[in-house]
Each structure stands twice: as structure tokens, then as C-alpha cells.
């Protein structure tokens, strides 16, 4: 047996590459990419997203695929049951309910989205300032919100609608003026929490001014809860609009929204229930989808719920 000695020159250095040893192979996920990945796993939320997309698409396409317009009356064909010609039937003036439902969808969704975005914007600015400045400014600003908040939103909206007169613009204004309180509170709470964090201190040390800290550091970090709240604000606004149209303060005929269609439907409910059925169904499906999506977003955006 011959012994094999291990000599130093039998080995050679393959190469010491610290960088490749520490290389991160998996792509680094940003907060949003991670949230999207989580959301994709939630089947229900994705279905809700698809349903909402379909409703939005149909709001634009729906009125075009039938040879009627939303205000076209045909007195020879009033109160017809759903048929191959009028898919959802016709109303008391012979207007096609299918077309009216989808042009109503456009108006309802528009009101919902726009007033929710305005609400959130006011809420972010107000809550951001209040939370960041703190002290007396915060106390006074929050007392104001508390007072506004303790008056039921619908009473505000009704009063404003009486003063401003019914119409699309006024509904959006009324909902926006009255609905930002909750958002302002939420943002303030977030900001109060975030401004204690080290990265804010670091930014301050580096000389960033107040507006930069609020806009670049605090708000982006508070974005998760804000977006969750936004998805709940949209159905809230659609609900409010439906309610207003229902008591005659909303969209005026011949324009249609889901609320006004449902209201017209109740007048004929005992004889022609389908006239109420279709708009009510559309409202309910859309609300459902928004709520499920909101829950899904909460699960994927809220760091505390991640595991």
C-alpha cells in the first residue's frame, strides 16, 4: 500500500468570490409586488376583481351592443317582459332596461370612484397635516372632525342636495364634502404611528423638510390601509347615490343610475317585478365584489395579517 500524501500543491484556489456567495437569486419583491402575489393566491378576491372589470367593461360596451338608447321611448312596447329583443324587458315608457342598466352602471360607478378619490385625497391631506404637526393643531383639527363625524353622513348629504339641487355634479360634491372624516382619522392614526419610526428621524437628520417627509415617507408607508379604505368607500358612495336617487334627490330622468332605476322599478314592483330585479341585482353584485376585493386587499396589504 502506497501512502498518498496530501501536498499543498495538489490544491488550488478556485476563486473567492464573496459577491456570488452573497448573491440574492430570488428577485427582490417590492411591497406592491409582494401584495399582488398574495392577492393572486386569494381566488375569491381575483374573482371579485374579474367581476368588477366585467361590470366596468359592460358599462361602456353594454349600451352599444343593443340598437336602443337609454332615453329612447317606444309606446307600442311598454312594460314588456324580458325577451330576445329587450333582454331585460322594457319600462313604463317603453325604454330598454338592458341599455338603461348599463348606462346607469356608468353613472353609478363614476360617482362611486370620483367621490371616493376626492374623499380620500381630502382625508390624506387633512389627516396627514393633523397627525404630523400634533399638539394643539392636532387637537383642534381632530375636534372638528369629531363634530363632523358625529352627524350622520346621510343627513349632511341630504341637506347639501336640497341646497345644491339634484344632479350628477352635486351628488359628487355632497358625498365628498361629508365623507372624508373617517379617512382623515385613519391617516392621522397611521401618521402618528409612523412618525415615531427611525427612518423619519434619519430623513430629518439629513435635512428633509416637513412636506417632503409627509409626501415621501409617511404617506407611501400608510398607503396600504388607505387603499383598503378606498375599496370600501367606492361601494359606500354608490350606496349613498342609490339612496339619494331613491328618495328623488339624485340623478334626474331621463338619465339613469342604479338607484333611480331601482326606484322606478319599485313603482311597478307588484305587477312587473323584473323592472326592479335587474338594477337591484347589479347593485348587489357590484357591492359584493367590492367588499370581497376589499377584504382580500386587507389580507394582502396589512403587514400584521401576513404570516
Amino acid at each position: 500500500m502506497e501512502q498518498v500524501g496530501l501536498e499543498k500543491d495538489m490544491f488550488e484556489v478556485v476563486g473567492k468570490d464573496l459577491e456570488s456567495a452573497e448573491a440574492i437569486i430570488r428577485p427582490s419583491l417590492t411591497y406592491w409586488a409582494d401584495a399582488w402575489r398574495r392577492l393572486k393566491e386569494n381566488k375569491l378576491a381575483i374573482i371579485a376583481l374579474v367581476v368588477l372589470a366585467l361590470v366596468v367593461i359592460m358599462a361602456f360596451v353594454g349600451p352599444m351592443i343593443r340598437p336602443f338608447t337609454y332615453d329612447q321611448q317606444d309606446f307600442t312596447k311598454i312594460n314588456q317582459e324580458p325577451s330576445s329583443e329587450h333582454w331585460f324587458g322594457t319600462d313604463a315608457l317603453g325604454r330598454d332596461i338592458f341599455v338603461r342598466c348599463w348606462s346607469g352602471a356608468k353613472i353609478s360607478l363614476f360617482i362611486g370612484m370620483v367621490s371616493a378619490i376626492i374623499n380620500v385625497t381630502i382625508g390624506i391631506i387633512y389627516g396627514g397635516i393633523s397627525g404630523y404637526l400634533g399638539g394643539y393643531v392636532d387637537i383642534i383639527m381632530m375636534r372638528i372632525v369629531e363634530i363632523i363625524y358625529s352627524i350622520p353622513e346621510l343627513l349632511w348629504v341630504i341637506l347639501l342636495m336640497v341646497v345644491l339641487g339634484p344632479g350628477l355634479k352635486t351628488i359628487i360634491i355632497a358625498i365628498s364634502i361629508s365623507g372624508w372624516g373617517g379617512m382623515a382619522r385613519l391617516v392621522r392614526g397611521q401618521v402618528l404611528q409612523l412618525k415615531q419610526m427611525e427612518f423619519v428621524l434619519a430623513a430629518k437628520t439629513l435635512g428633509a423638510d416637513t412636506s417632503r417627509i409627509i409626501a415621501k415617507h409617511l404617506i407611501p408607508n400608510a398607503m396600504g390601509p388607505i387603499i383598503i379604505n378606498l375599496t370600501f368607500q367606492v361601494p359606500g358612495a354608490i350606496f349613498t347615490e342609490a339612496f339619494l336617487s331613491y328618495i328623488g334627490l339624485g340623478i334626474q330622468p331621463p338619465l339613469a343610475s342604479w338607484g333611480s332605476l331601482a326606484q322606478e322599478g319599485t313603482l311597478m314592483l307588484l305587477i312587473k317585478p323584473y323592472q326592479m330585479f335587474f338594477p337591484a341585482l347589479l347593485i348587489s353584485i357590484t357591492m359584493l365584489a367590492f367588499n370581497i376585493l376589499g377584504d382580500g386587499l386587507r389580507d394582502s396589504l396589512d403587514p400584521r395579517l401576513r404570516k
Binding site: 369629531e146 352627524i151 350622520p152 339612496f243 319599485t266 337591484a280 347593485i283 348587489s284
Partner: protein, 306 residues
């Protein structure tokens, strides 16, 4: 506790004052006056009418006078029903609305809390899914849809209950069900979440480990703690029920405040709108105040925080 009660009380009073002021000036900001949409009126009569309602005086004087009248509990005359005052109309309609509202809240809170408890204790079983389903329906379907569906199905089709109007107990069933439904759904969902939260606490495990009976753990340790947050929700819920009654009362032709309110809006009866809005707001603010106080009593942590 006294300090907390006073502080809340002052906020409630300021809120009421803000509502009165905002309502007053908003109503005065409406272009034109309440008499313009009637038939052409002689200038002399117009002037007399304006004098009768004090519309010829400067705004600030009108405001002062309105506040004075309010302090005496006088909400003014209706501008459309010439012979009736707002007070009279509220006196006849408020009891009806209050009855409807209280019954709906009782049904909503009673069933909601019970459903929530049963669902949480049977997590992942059939009843739990039923409650989740109920909660989803409750937030997705507007109240007037339920009202109309109940009216159509139980009133017109099956004829179990009258379609509309107000009188015997049979008239109450459908509107109370329609108004209470969203409360049941909402409260059941909250109660379920609250119960699940409490059930995962350490002291529940301790109670079980000590060998306490299931009944004691459930009633004394879980439900008593889980029911606390529901008290705060009740305040918000009362507001929801009150506002929801506008539509329900209109659909079922119930002679309550909501119906008159919607009517006064449609007829531009300014004094009635103002009077009813203020009345509503005052009741709601008082309700919220009371829930705050009750919450402060049942949960000492709130008082210490303040």
C-alpha cells in the same frame, strides 16, 4: 367618570349647535324663496307672507330668533301645510318612527348578538358559514331592495302580511324585518369577530385549564368581554336604522318622520326640512352620547385613556 361625562356632553352640545347653524344658513342659501314655485302671488301678499315667516329681516336677526325659538322647543310653522306647525307634525309622527326604530334595533341587536355567539362557538361549521353568508348579503344589498322584496314576496305573493300601512302587529313585521336585516348582519359579523378574538386570549385557556365548566367559560369569560365592542357599534347602528327608515317608511306608507322628511324634501318645505333635520340630529347626537357614556361605564379602560 364625571370629567369624562362632562367632556363628552360639551362635545355633544357643540355638535348640536353646529348642526343648527349649518342647517339654518344652508337653507337660507338656497336661491329663491319657498313661495316662488307656487302660483303667481301679488306683491303685497308676498310681502305679508315674508313678514309672517320673518324673511324680511336681516339674516343675523332671523338666526337669533330661530335660536331663541329652538331654545323654547319651537321648530316653527310648516310652509306647505299652512295650518300645521313642525312640532305638531313631529308629535304625531315621531312615536311611530320611534316604535319602528326601537323594534328594529331590538331585533337587530338581539338576533345579531345571538347569531354571532353561535357562529363563533361553532367556527367552521354550517351555522358559521350561514352567518358569514348573512353578513355578506347584509353589506351588499341595499335596504330598499329588501323592503321591496319582502313586500313583493311575503306581502303580495304569499299574502302572509299586509303590503303597507301601519296599525296591528301584522303591519310591523315586514318593515321591522327590512329595517333590522342589515343590523342583524352587521352586528352578527362584529360579534363573531369579537368572540373569536376573545376565545384566543390566554385567560380563556387559563379558565379552561382550571377546569371551569364550559358554561361558565362561555358566559362569564367570553361573552361578557366580547359584547363590549358591540356597545359602540350600537350607536352607529342606531344612526343607520334611523336614516334607513326614510326609505322603509316611504315604501310601506308608514306615517312616520322619515316619510314626512322625504316628502318635505320633495316639496321644498324649508321649515319642515330644517325642523326635522335638527330633530333627527339632536336625537342621534344624544344616542351617540349615551352609548359613549355606557361604554365608559362598562369598560373602565376608556375613561383612563381619555
Amino acid at each position: 367618570m364625571l370629567k369624562y361625562t362632562l367632556k363628552r356632553g360639551i362635545i355633544a352640545l357643540i355638535t348640536i349647535w353646529v348642526i343648527i347653524t349649518v342647517t339654518f344658513f344652508l337653507m337660507r342659501a338656497i336661491p329663491g324663496d319657498p313661495f316662488t314655485n307656487e302660483k303667481k302671488i301679488q306683491p303685497q301678499i308676498m310681502e305679508n307672507l315674508k313678514r309672517k315667516y320673518g324673511l324680511d329681516q336681516p339674516l343675523i336677526v332671523q338666526y337669533g330668533k330661530y335660536l331663541q325659538n329652538l331654545l323654547r322647543g319651537d321648530l316653527g310653522d310648516s310652509m306647505k301645510y299652512k295650518t300645521r306647525t313642525v312640532n305638531e307634525m313631529l308629535r304625531t309622527s315621531f312615536p311611530v318612527s320611534a316604535k319602528l326604530g326601537l323594534m328594529s334595533i331590538a331585533v337587530g341587536a338581539g338576533l345579531g348578538i345571538t347569531f354571532g355567539i353561535i357562529a363563533a362557538l361553532n367556527r367552521g361549521k354550517a351555522f358559521d358559514y350561514f352567518v358569514i353568508f348573512l353578513a355578506v348579503i347584509g353589506v351588499s344589498v341595499p335596504g330598499f331592495v329588501f323592503a321591496a322584496l319582502f313586500q313583493y314576496w311575503f306581502g303580495a305573493k304569499l299574502q302572509w302580511f299586509p303590503v303597507a300601512r301601519w296599525g296591528t302587529w301584522k303591519h310591523y313585521v315586514l318593515p321591522v324585518a327590512a329595517l333590522g336585516f342589515s343590523s342583524i348582519a352587521y352586528i352578527a359579523r362584529m360579534m363573531r369577530t369579537s368572540m373569536l378574538d376573545i376565545l384566543s386570549q390566554d385567560y380563556i385557556r387559563t379558565a379552561k385549564a382550571k377546569g371551569l365548566s364550559r358554561r361558565v367559560v362561555t358566559w362569564k369569560h367570553t361573552i361578557r368581554n366580547a359584547i363590549l365592542p358591540i356597545v359602540t357599534i350600537l350607536g352607529v347602528n342606531i344612526a343607520g336604522v334611523v336614516v334607513g327608515s326614510f326609505v322603509i317608511e316611504s315604501i310601506y306608507a308608514i306615517p312616520g318622520m322619515g316619510k314626512y322628511y322625504v316628502q318635505s324634501i320633495q316639496q321644498n318645505d324649508y321649515t319642515l326640512i330644517m325642523g326635522t333635520t335638527i330633530f333627527y340630529a339632536v336625537i342621534l347626537v344624544i344616542m351617540m352620547y349615551l352609548t359613549d357614556i355606557v361604554y365608559g361605564i362598562v369598560d373602565p379602560r376608556i375613561r383612563i385613556d381619555e
